[in-house]
Amino acid sequence: MESIITPSLRAGRSVISYSFDVLIAVAALTVFSYVQYGLRPVLVVLIAIASAVISETVCCLLCRRRITLGDGTAFVTGGLIGVLMSPIVPIYVPIIASAFAIVIAKMPFGGSGRNIFNPAAAGVALVTVCFERSMSAFPNPSQNVRLWWDTSEVLYQNSVAATLKSGGTSFETFTDLLFGSTPGAIGTTTVLVLVACLLYLRFRRTVSTAGFIAYMLTCTALALLFPRAEGDYWRSVMLELFSGTLLFTGVFFLNDPTTTPHHTGGRVAFGILLGGMVMLLRHFGQYADGACFAVLLLNPLAPIIDRWTWQLHRFVEMRWIRRE
């Protein structure tokens, strides 16, 4: 007779606490953006979240399934989309991105936990393709932007990643990048807060840093080998690593539990591939920052990478470690 194991003792956390941790990180990024630009970024993030939540509810109602808002993944998707928007983005852009993320990239695959592509990356990729101008127009830092529709008198400026792409000269110092006084999307400019988010998530054991380290090392190596910025090599590395969505991708998309490998070796392999792909798209892609596309391209490979690295690990363990 088969025994049925039902541990009546739960040692772990619940799904919602994972989502909650990421939401706290998103909130930290939004607050920092609020200090710089005023209430507008907060509005963008909240609208993105609301759109994702409404889309998910409608999808669940249409499919006559139990509403799965409770695990919080819809909030996370909306929040991540929100912080990847420019502070002066038209309001319909985050709405479309969030709705696309949930309706096309998440629910048809079976909802949270079964999606192949990272929904937030898919939503951002869509609006990057469709509304290229809105997505690449960033306001001057430390300039208060108006809350509602009219954003016409804002001074536009190219982001650091766009400057790198076009081969122009950038004057940002390390301190500028650290405290986010560079033009860019809501949640991607402040390196200090991003690193703090990573440390917080690591401390809460929501993410594992092995993949992140591999990713950053790959990016550093490629930036050293193929520098794009003027000046010495380390300036090039600094600008590459701390500009655009590269760091953000490493902290959030690379550690999304569903669409990346779960085995540590798999995470490392995924991080290396993602780093290579991001740098490749930066050099040869159409857009200033191809991190979302890189994530989408590699997401379907995650299960295969996971299995292969696991089998390699088992093989090594059997062959060399168990033999002694």
Partner: protein
């Protein structure tokens, strides 16, 4: 790839048609011939033109290969049907360019020759027609062209409608163009949705079929007991 041949040989013609055109749709179930749909199927005219090209290639080829396919050596078969397909398509291209529409030909000039080496041809002609009776082969070619044409027509119509708000170059009266719908990713998403929809329909039919089978099986058992 060419394996499911033998099991089809005894089928009825209507069964072949429904199986090839709908239940095992080339594009939606077997993911063959996706490339022309994604790259060229951005407006209804090109879509229909490509579907007709497929029909023109498949129909004579299937007949030919079902008649003489067995008499040709195995290694020569792909060479034969690819060559004949290329000849047919060259003719089609000339006709299209000279007498139908030069603009359409300019849009499709890359994809029409590519049809010769398309997997649809090698899969249906090489996999089905050789070794089947001519009537079945013709029916299968019709069904394959119909299935492919249906999908490409739906996809290209939707993409044309959304991207330029026209159908068959005739404006439909709304004005909200989304030019991104002409990009490849939109076709991928549409195809994915349609594939999922077809799977859902097949599952539903299969479930009802299973119920019927169960019922008949029960009746059969009772019958034997009574006897």
């Amino acid at each position: 790839m060419n394996k499911p041949t033998a099991s089809h040989s005894g089928w009825k013609l209507t069964t072949i048609f429904f199986d090839t055109a709908l239940r095992n749709n080339l594009v939606l179930v077997q993911a063959i011939g996706v490339c022309p749909i994604i790259m060229a199927g951005a407006d209804l005219k090109s879509g229909v033109a490509l579907a007709l090209c497929t029909l023109i290639t498949l129909l004579p080829l299937s007949l030919l290969m079902s008649l003489i396919g067995k008499k040709v050596a195995n290694w020569l078969q792909p060479v034969l049907y690819t060559g004949v397909a290329a000849l047919l398509l060259v003719g089609t291209a000339i006709v299209l360019d000279k007498w139908v529409s030069t603009a359409l030909y300019a849009k499709l000039h890359l994809f029409i020759p590519l049809m010769a080496v398309n997997t649809i041809v090698s899969y249906r002609v090489g996999g089905f027609s050789i070794g089947n009776r001519p009537a079945a082969a013709v029916m299968d070619a019709l069904a394959a062209a119909f299935g492919f044409g249906l999908v490409i027509a739906i996809v290209s119509a939707i993409r044309e409608l959304v991207s330029t708000n026209t159908i068959w170059n005739i404006p439909v009266g709304i004005s909200l163009p989304l030019p991104e719908a002409a990009q490849p990713f939109a076709a991928f998403i549409l195809l994915g949705m349609m594939a999922a929809g077809l799977q859902w329909l097949t599952h539903r039919r299969k479930e009802s079929d299973d119920e019927v089978e169960l019922l008949t099986a029960d009746n059969g058992e009772e019958g034997t007991e009574n006897a």
